[in-house]
């Protein structure tokens, strides 16, 4: 058992708000330089670059978890992680069905690029990704779990798109076990304000949109190996696995 520095919330060029340098290969290269060993690619309502990341990562010794940052009907941002590409594809199909039929306006929102593992541009996502899909927070948690995935609220401490700011408090019926806060606050100071976070595993992630934001990981996962099965146990704090805060 050892600690694997982890960053479970990263955006690529598929997210309109991300820098054009956030290509799969550049991300894993930078991540590796920072000593991070396990990452999740979580583009807004989309996952077309996860395959390229999985292709580019082994060369750098980085483990990539397939993921997405989905925006609920209430506009809350939720990180969804999946065991493999096939499961993520099933989830993507549910999201696609409920994505409003709006076209991206790159001049306002930014470009949305699909890439391959060699950082070549494969195409452009025409649909507007930066919007809420027609699924409630409850529906998202239920469906992601039914697929065998993990779901947790993103950047709870932020004023925009945070489940806490939108719904006022964490709905107890969701049984939230893990939550993400940004690098701006520590779990201790944040949980002090929100007692309902007692017993919730707090993680920090970069939510990087630019290479410079890929800094050394704020948390490590204590695991036997960098695998999905181990990650699930670490986030749940089971069987001696867990989340360890770095430099707190």
């Amino acid at each position: 058992m050892r600690q694997y520095p982890a960053d479970l919330h990263i955006h690529s060029v598929l997210s309109p708000c991300a820098d054009r340098r956030m290509t799969p290969r550049q991300i894993v290269e930078r991540v590796r330089e920072q000593g991070t060993e396990i990452i999740a690619l979580t583009d807004h309502n989309a996952s077309a670059n996860v395959g390229a990341m999985l292709g580019a990562a082994p060369e750098y010794g980085v483990t990539v978890i397939p993921g997405m940052e989905v925006q609920s009907r209430e506009d809350a941002h939720l990180i969804c992680l999946f065991p493999d590409l096939d499961t993520l594809a099933e989830w993507q199909a549910m999201v696609d069905e409920r994505l409003p039929r709006l076209r991206n306006r790159p001049e306002y929102f930014g470009e949305q690029w699909q890439m391959d593992a060699a950082d070549q541009r494969l195409g452009v996502e025409e649909r507007l990704l930066l919007t809420g899909v027609g699924l409630t927070v409850t529906e998202i948690f239920t469906r992601v779990r039914a697929l065998g995935g993990i779901c947790f609220p993103a950047h709870l401490d932020r004023p925009a798109n945070s489940l806490l700011s939108i719904l006022g408090f964490l709905p107890p019926e969701l049984g939230i076990g893990t939550a993400e806060i940004s690098y701006r606050v520590t779990p201790a100071e944040f949980c002090e304000k929100f007692r309902e976070l007692d017993g919730v595993t707090m993680i920090s992630a970069s939510d990087a949109h630019r290479p410079e934001e890929l800094t050394p990981a704020k948390v490590s996962l204590l695991m036997e190996a960098p695998t999905w099965a181990e990650l699930v146990q670490a986030l749940a704090g089971r069987n001696g696995r867990g989340v360890v805060r770095v430099n707190d």
């Binding site: 409630t136 700011s165 939108i166 719904l167 006022g168 709905p171």
Partner: protein, 119 residues
Amino acid sequence: MTLREAAQRLAWREVVAPRNPDHRVRGGYASDLLSDVMAHAREGDVWFTIQTHQNVTAVACLTGVAAVIFTGGAQPDVDTVEKAGREGLALYSTSRFTYEAVGQLYLLLSRESDEAVSG
């Protein structure tokens, strides 16, 4: 102006009946961010929102608002309606969007206070 009168005159559709229909409406608040509502809504206000999650009921009870008006045809979730029924919290819906729904109530209450001054 009582809650009953306001609902009648502005054609709000009743989803959950108020425990006290004669509650006096003095003002309101409009927001879809529940953290913002918790910070700014006042007791006795009428709250306009498109947010339909069941947390709406809890926040309404916490702040003591007299009623929640779902605007733009938004329909509260089943859990929201059930909880409101248990708590005796009045819920209404209107097809008008927030801007118009709020404007209508504002005009109504302004006229009432003008009449009170001149009358």
